[in-house]
Amino acid sequence: MADTKYTQEHEWIRVEGDVGTIGITQYAQEQLGDVVFVDVPQSGRKVTKGEACAVVESVKAASDIYAPATGEVVEANAGLADSPGDVNAEPMGKGWFFKIKLLDKGELSGLMDEAAYNAFVKTLG
């Protein structure tokens, strides 16, 4: 059963087995506005928790996406090249960014669950 966790930088990571799928939240896509390009990391790249490893370009600005956990990239969402708008339309579905093979699932315990994240977003006004 998949378990989804959230960061204070508005990334989500959905864990199935030892692979985590990473994207940005509904709140993040609303704040960014129309996404026009996503620079995703290539398979094989090793990323460290907190490292800037993808960039999402909206019409307004470029924003870094940080790895919510340490691991190795096993797949990037190739569909975003032609449909970056998927990030706006389905940020937690078709608009995912990349998948990593997790080095240490224990790292995820510091992240928020859905209820905690929703409460966190409420504090942002």
């Binding site: 506005g33 129309d34 026009v36 390009f37 620079d39 370009e57 909206s58 019409v59």
Partner: protein, 369 residues
């Protein structure tokens, strides 16, 4: 001033429309409405968009007895202002002694007065500058509380003609007084999108009602500052503080066309010696259009390189919705500034191949009659 953000006469309307408001030049301004920047951009290119630009600084200049306001303002700008017929408008710049640009502005002659529109972020400094130099010759009246609406797009004319029929035959860069909804407005056929459109100067207390009237027309939707920026970038228009500033001259910026022919030889404006030398010998660098390959966006500050050599810097860059691709503008050393030159734009440290191309990126659609 403090930290309090100012509000335009349309603040309540923006809130009602669900705008995302951001601080801009000391004002709380709408960056976008719920439909988003791409939709707002397309709306303005295909139908009509209404922009609140009331934050810009409107100033009226009137000659004192026995004086000439156009002659007076020509001591501060390189544009041909004395040649303006009543109802004509020009784009020009306030220059400094080294030929740099303090601000860029529109000046319209009404016959009795000159109406100037400054950038919001510069308007206080501009007003002080004009007062310092022209107080002896002109009455200088800031009209900062007036509203300014921009109605832009291919259907702007048919919409505005319902409220003021004569606007339909106005030509690009002309202006006239109109009464809309009982309020005396000054309308110019101009804008900042590269398309057809109007700017409507309104009495403060009539601004909201006129904006609502325009928004009630089926062709019109509200447009925020986000799309204003992508529209002007496609049109190759300069954004003050980014593409032009006190360190760039009008010649470097490719604005020679805005300098009056006689003024090029006669001078008489701040920095004339520098600007005349650049007209004669060429400027050391030039503002150019840049078309990057692929999808990466080179934004302001990105270095422009040829091989290992840095030859310039991006001053504006973004996604061009009309073209569905990234575009940019920047300054490049003159020797490397020719159209077709291949360069690299350094985006997050990675070179993105790009080509120098003529501006604008999207063809102008001004109404010239």
């Amino acid at each position: 001033m403090g930290d309090t953000l100012k509000r335009t006469p349309l603040y309540d309307l923006h809130r009602e429309l669900g705008a995302r408001l951001v601080p801009f030049a000391g004002y709380e301004m709408p960056v976008q409405y719920p439909t988003g920047i791409l939709a707002e951009h397309a709306q303005t290119r295909t139908a009509a968009g209404l922009f609140d630009v009331s934050h810009m600084g409107q100033v009226r200049l009137t000659a004192k007895h026995g004086q000439n306001a156009a002659k007076a303002i020509e001591t501060l700008v390189p544009g041909d202002i004395t040649g303006l017929q009543p109802g004509q408008q020009r784009y020009t710049q306030l220059t400094n002694d080294s030929g740099g640009i303090l601000d860029d502005l529109m000046i319209t002659s009404t016959g009795d007065h000159l109406l100037m529109v400054f950038n919001a972020a510069c308007k206080d400094a501009d007003l002080a500058h004009v007062q310092k130099h022209l107080a002896a010759t002109c009455e200088i009246e800031p009209m900062f509380s007036r509203g300014l609406l921009a109605l832009q797009g291919p259907q702007a004319s048919q919409v505005l003609a319902r409220l003021a029929p004569q606007v339909a035959t106005m030509k690009f860069m002309t202006g006239a007084f109109f009464v809309i909804d009982g309020a005396r407005c000054y309308i110019t056929r101009s804008g900042y999108t590269g398309g057809d459109g109007f700017e409507i100067s309104t009495p403060n207390d009539a601004t909201d009602a006129i904006a609502r009237k325009l928004l009630a027309e089926p062709e019109v939707k509200p447009i925020g500052l986000g799309a204003r920026d992508s529209l002007r970038l496609e049109a190759g228009l300069c954004l003050y503080g980014h593409d032009i500033d006190t360190t760039t001259t009008p010649i470097e910026a490719g604005l020679l066309w805005s300098i009056g022919k006689e003024r090029r030889t006669q001078g008489g404006f701040p920095g004339a010696a520098v600007i005349q030398k650049q007209i004669a010998e060429g400027a050391p660098r030039k503002r150019v259009g840049l078309l990057p390959e692929g999808k990466a966006i080179a934004r302001e500050g990105a270095e422009i390189a040829i091989g290992a050599k840095t030859v310039g810097k991006v001053t504006s860059g973004g996604f061009a919705p009309t073209l569905g691709r990234a575009i940019a503008m920047g300054y490049v050393e003159r020797a490397h500034s020719g159209n077709g030159t291949k360069v690299d734009l350094l985006v997050r440290g990675k070179p993105v191949p790009a080509e120098i191309v003529p501006l604008p990126f999207v063809k102008n659609a001004y109404y010239r009659g």
